[in-house]
């Protein structure tokens, strides 16, 4: 899996995808931090994450759209699937490398709480909680995005499908307050992938929400392995 991780990491940077992602991530997160904290003269890091988590969801397809679709288009999946490695390690290698590329700019944004700290705002629990929530959200979105990339051999189709699905998941969060039917409301709340971060934003480790994100991540990693195996059989 180490070789697959290294190859995927290198691939994300030799194809410029990684650089584009990092540039957009830092530009947008910087803009959100400036607007929500600096210009608003607010020391509350929660206001930054409440906006940026939604923005981040729209950045993940950049990383995931070519993950498996390009392998199929270039026929390099034949190299991976005839190698003496398990399908699980193929899927995990790609997932972990993509997550690592996401963590790179996220670590740079640790300077934002440092700036707030310099201004005398000390909210360690909320800061850690928000970052933990963002990492869990990223894991779930990357696993889902990679699964959607597996279903096509076109990077463009993969990107559009992922944006459509992520868009619906974000809309589900907005629609919760618009419906009054309890069951539908519960379903929308469950689907609203970003709102599950809210518990973490107060600096509280919400085990239920952590399990939600980890379950989504594991489910889509498992589905990716399953689809690869089904493709071998059918």
């Amino acid at each position: 899996m180490k070789g697959l991780f290294a190859k995927e990491w290198r691939h994300l940077f030799t194809t410029m995808t990684g650089y584009v992602f990092i540039a957009l991530y830092l530009a947008l997160s910087g803009a959100v931090f400036t607007l929500t904290c600096l210009l608003a003269q607010s020391g509350d890091i929660k206001s930054y994450f409440s906006v940026f988590n939604t923005v981040a969801v729209l950045l993940f397809p950049i990383l995931t759209m070519g993950s498996f679709s390009e392998e199929r288009r270039q026929k390099t999946d034949e190299l991976l699937l005839t190698a003496p490695v398990t399908l699980t390690s193929v899927v995990l290698g790609k997932f972990l490398a993509t997550l690592a590329v996401f963590l790179l700019p996220m670590l740079i944004t640790l300077c934002y709480p440092a700036v707030l700290y310099a201004f005398g705002v000390r909210a360690l629990a909320a800061t850690v909680g928000n970052y933990v929530g963002l990492v869990l959200l990223a894991g779930a979105c990357i696993a889902l995005g990679q699964f959607l990339s597996l279903l096509t051999d076109s990077q463009f189709v993969a990107a559009m499908t992922t944006y459509a699905v992520f868009g619906l998941l974000l809309l589900a969060g907005s629609a919760v307050s618009m419906v009054h039917q309890p069951m539908l409301q519960a379903a929308l709340r469950f689907l609203a992938i970003v709102t599950h971060c809210e518990g973490f934003s107060y600096g509280v480790f919400d085990a239920m929400e952590a399990v939600y994100y980890l379950s989504v991540t594991v489910l889509f990693l498992f589905l990716s392995v399953y689809v690869l195996e089904r493709r071998r059989i059918s």
């Binding site: 691939h11 005839t82 003496p84 071998r232």
Partner: protein, 329 residues
């Protein structure tokens, strides 16, 4: 060394490979022949572990693919028809990645890359980006990647497609050298290529193995067939119609491709004891107002003729139709 038993692959609409059984010894070059759509690539993909068979078993050095896929895959080097290469990587980066995939120890990686680069004569392009290499070099890089880890079985799917004649000769020489160290399975629909490097031939037609043996043994099995070539001048469709009527019940007629406007070549296969030449001569003579027989020659079947004879036929049979046929039988 390699034992394939009752291998079958069904797709939703058709059966691609049907009850394929053969064995290959170590240190031999085996040629897998067949027309397009015969099931060669599907067979190779199953042997390489890319596709799972619907039924049957692949066994290499006593290990079954279904029981120990990783161990079996470690012993196989596979070069598909389109070499699986990352165009943005350099040759060295790609080969290093394949070393990591195939479990070559980190300290051995550099030496292994140098070894396969030297074998394929690509050392001078090792630092170049694959996407900027010519098709011939890309093919060689794919070949080099298939040799990493010193496989016991090397599977090459149409390895010389798109190469210039000099590269074809080089690759053939390399295959002959490699066949002294490992089992090499090559697929092609080019008889000359297979005949020049392989001692053992397998001929597939519509997913079914129709011949298995050396070129001599396969030819021996077809001595009971006689071949006649006829060239007829005149309207092509009339000529086809006339000869078809003449050989009906005596043999099988096939039209040979030759791009001349007024002449058509025919190949007529029949049982050795049946003489169809008189029937052909009289049939054309009866239509001498429109047709002229310009040549009528008895032919000793070559490997190519046997191949044509064996693989003459149309599209693959749908899986359900085959099942139904068997059920009725």
């Amino acid at each position: 060394m390699l034992q394939v038993t009752h291998l079958r692959k069904d797709y939703p609409t058709q059966r691609s490979v049907d009850d394929l059984t053969f064995a290959a010894e170590s240190h031999e070059a085996v040629g897998l022949l067949g027309p397009n759509g015969a099931g060669k690539s599907t067979t190779m993909r199953m042997l390489a572990g890319y596709l799972a068979p619907t039924a049957g078993e692949v066994e290499l050095c006593g290990l079954r693919m279904s029981d120990s896929p990783r161990e079996v895959k470690r012993m196989i080097g596979y070069l598909p028809e389109i070499p699986p290469l990352y165009p943005e990587s350099t040759v060295t980066e790609h080969l290093r990645f394949v070393c990591a995939l195939r479990g070559v120890a980190a300290r051995e990686t550099a030496r292994e890359c140098e070894r396969v680069c030297a074998l394929l004569n690509i050392t001078h392009v090792a630092g170049r980006v694959i996407g900027r290499l010519s098709k011939g070099y890309r093919q060689r890089v794919g070949f080099a990647a298939a040799l990493i880890g010193q496989p016991r079985l090397l599977i090459l799917d149409e390895p010389t497609v798109g190469l210039d004649p000099q590269q074809v000769v080089e690759i053939r020489r390399l295959i002959l050298t490699l066949a002294q160290q490992m089992t090499v399975l090559i697929s092609s629909h080019m008889l000359s290529e297979i005949a020049s490097v392989c001692s053992h031939l397998l001929i597939l037609n519509r997913g079914v193995l129709v011949a298995d043996g050396t070129a001599q043994s396969i030819a021996q099995g077809h001595r009971d067939r006689s071949l006649l070539t006829a060239t007829v001048r005149g309207d092509r469709s009339l000529a086809v119609q006339t000869l078809r009527k003449a050989v009906a019940g005596l043999g099988e007629l096939s039209v040979q491709e030759r791009f001349t406007p007024d002449e058509t070549d025919f190949l007529i296969a029949s049982a050795a004891q049946v003489d169809v030449s008189a029937a052909v001569f009289h049939a054309v003579a009866d239509r001498r107002d429109a047709l002229t027989l310009t040549a009528l020659t008895a032919k000793t079947p070559t490997l190519e003729d046997i191949f044509m004879d064996i693989t003459r036929g149309a599209a693959p049979v749908p899986a359900q139709a085959q099942e139904g046929g068997r059920a009725q039988a």
